[in-house]
Symmetry: C2
Subunit: 425 residues, 2 copies
């Protein structure tokens, strides 16, 4: 790729590790879609010198675009505009139209919050200072963005709050100096195939095999394992290489087709939601403690298919609320395939749903035995027509991993039941 960008994320909270940066990855993904490669993402604190040196480093690395995020607030330690002006060799000047605009924006809010008017005026004026000749982008919150041409890269200054940054993005990439650079990036497309249950090393071997007969070099292939079992294969390609991408996907399907659950990049959550259209589901959870219900209810419109769930964390709850026979729990243990099935049946019946799911397992760190160690989880998905899928995997990782992966396995089992297939072995 010919166009390269660097991203500078400012903020002491991010640098100290207190807050996870959401802007760097987001901007990088968007740039990738535009055919522009990110060379570095650099996090710096609020010290002027460190921001200045990061800008100079990226210029020396030869990037065409620099995106900065954060440091546009009204307080004294928000220094990005000033430092970028210095970097570009420009003076900071007051943009009076912008000052009026920000004043309007904050007026109602400031009244409600009873802000001190003098402090407010000062802050507004500071936020309306832009490098001479720069293009100011309309604020999504109160801070305007900036597009500043320099002798080297074009610098795009964006606000720190992710919602504001994302709202401003279309205007930033459409700004003439940015658009002029991006036009050279050419148009890339991304296709994503996802498999459930294929080890990463197996896929690496498969890709090496495929390469013996197909030259894959025009494609940029990235593989990524998520939640321990979902393997994503991202392919970036120029539109002219669409047939090569098809050949790759065909070759992957020939070898691992049974494990592929999408070639269009959707999440398993979205696929399950689509398949549930016109049907309903209810869940009974023990070790996952509500996480499956939470994922099933995360997408808008979930009330169309999710009837509800029971978190039967205690044995009494399994017996009293779900009607799992006490004898069964005694004989098989609360973590056992028959109890998972009884929970799934009860969930379906209690909520009058088409599908029922039961999960019971040992999330740890305590509670494991030699026979049923931490990570042992029993999952059952069934409907009213006699279809039933059951699994009792031994899942790796700590408590959070076991809980999260149990939910993932359950979602893939739900999908398989809905399309009338079993999980492949």
């Amino acid at each position: 790729m010919s166009v390269r960008a660097g991203i500078v994320v400012t903020g002491t909270e991010v640098l100290s590790g207190r807050v996870a940066d959401r802007n760097g990855p987001w901007v990088s993904e968007r740039l990738g879609e535009l055919g522009c490669e990110t060379s570095h993402i650099i996090c710096v604190g609020d010290r002027p010198g460190d921001l200045r040196s990061a800008l100079a480093f990226l210029r020396d690395a030869g990037v065409d675009l620099i995106f900065t995020t954060g440091g546009l607030g009204p307080t004294a330690d928000d220094l990005t505009a000033e430092i970028v002006a210095g970097f570009a060799g420009r003076e900071l000047v007051l943009d009076e139209a912008m000052e009026r605009r920000i004043t309007e924006i904050v007026a109602g809010f400031a009244r409600r919050m009873r802000f001190d008017p003098e402090g407010l005026r000062e802050g507004t004026r500071k936020q309306a200072m832009v490098p001479e000749g720069a293009l100011a982008l309309d604020p999504a919150g109160t801070a305007p963005g900036l597009v500043v041409a320099t002798d080297g890269p074009v610098v795009v200054v964006l606000p720190g709050p992710p919602r504001e940054l994302q709202a401003m993005w279309p205007a930033a990439v459409a700004a003439p100096p940015v658009a002029a650079v991006l036009v050279d990036a050419g148009s890339y497309a991304i296709a994503t195939m996802k498999m459930f249950g294929v080890p990463e090393s197996t896929l690496a071997k498969t890709l090496r095999e495929i390469e013996r007969t197909i030259d894959l070099t025009p494609l940029e292939i990235t593989t990524c394992l998520r939640r321990g079992a979902e393997l994503e294969i991202d392919v970036r390609y120029r539109e002219s290489e669409v047939e090569l991408r098809d050949s790759l996907f065909l070759a992957l399907r020939e070898r691992h087709g049974r494990f592929v659950y999408t070639e269009r990049g959707e999440t398993i959550d979205a696929l399950v939601a689509q398949l549930l259209a016109g049907r309903s589901i209810a869940v009974a959870e023990s070790c996952t403690g509500g996480l499956l219900a939470a994922r099933l209810s995360a997408l808008p419109g979930a009330s169309g298919y999710l009837k509800g769930g029971v978190v039967s964390y205690s044995n009494e709850a399994k017996i009293d609320l779900l009607g799992v026979p006490a004898r069964l729990i005694e004989r098989e243990g609360a973590v056992s395939p028959p109890v998972a099935e009884a929970m799934a049946t009860a969930a379906r019946e209690r909520f009058g749903a088409d599908l029922g799911v039961g999960i019971t397992g040992i999330a740890g760190p305590g509670g494991g035995t030699e026979e049923k160690p931490v990570g042992y989880v029993c999952i059952c998905v069934l409907d009213g027509a006699g279809n039933l899928l059951a699994r009792d995997p031994q899942l790796p990782g700590g408590r959070d991993d076991v809980r999260d992966r149990s939910v993932s396995v359950a979602l893939h089992m739900i999908r398989r039941l809905l399309i009338g297939e079993d999980l492949p072995v």
Copy 2:
């Protein structure tokens, strides 16, 4: 602070934004605890030149330590050891003891996974190549870490998988070349006060007021707003400044004491878990769809207090499973304070718990009305002794924010009920 470090995170997935980096923030936080300041966190891809230039940049920026993460795997694009060797001006040599060690580690795993033995031998040999004179750190997975002294900074090479990196960390900071640098960092302590319900701008004003009577410059104060309402105040200080820290906390308590929920940095989740010792809780959730139960069950030992929960996503579930009167739902609406209270009561009774919680609200994006817009949430927490807290806030943000913040408000209400207080206004 006198000791500064830079962190270089390698990995195309991280750089492209597909995967969030967990290592940079984690290492930065640990360094902060050791009194060492992070100057930059730089994410680079798998291109050798970009890693090389990042190392040179950090050396030129004058850091004392560089930590790299990732790029230690057995495949050809894992280049970190080689590039760091070049940066330090050393040859890569085979560490035969390490080769035997890795061979032992992977033996069982490789048998189970039916790995190709020749590829395995190659990979193992590659992972056992270390820069001459460097200190190899025992692998937590299969990749050894490295400590490499240079003319400039000491470079510490760590593996990419967070669990492996974290397992190796104690050995990395105890390695003599690293320990020798860190000894100059001096000992810093961190104290964290957290408030619920104080706006960030109010706190900023308070801090300015306090500064008029107390010189706070020896303290490094960072404030951070989480989940929309939890305000964290982190104070880093030398042990000799402990009285100044006490004066600051006293001054903050004088002004906002009723909103402070911890001065020891615990999460609200941990505080609620401690307060629930010897008591039990059950929940009924609508819009949060299991998220409250999931948070209450996230900590080890949750089965000691969490009886269970019902996700009554549909009205039928509220009526049939919880016994909320259909009339009440009809008259007041499913999202109303009386229904939240009926849900809390039912949860308590159905599960035989000491405390009951009910949440019903409009998470959006659909379902809002003028009277009850998206973000309107009714929460009730009660016990069997007649204590009851009820709130119906209008929460900002999208669907995920509304759900997440509802759970946060509920947890703070649970804490207040358990300590016999109401939420302050």
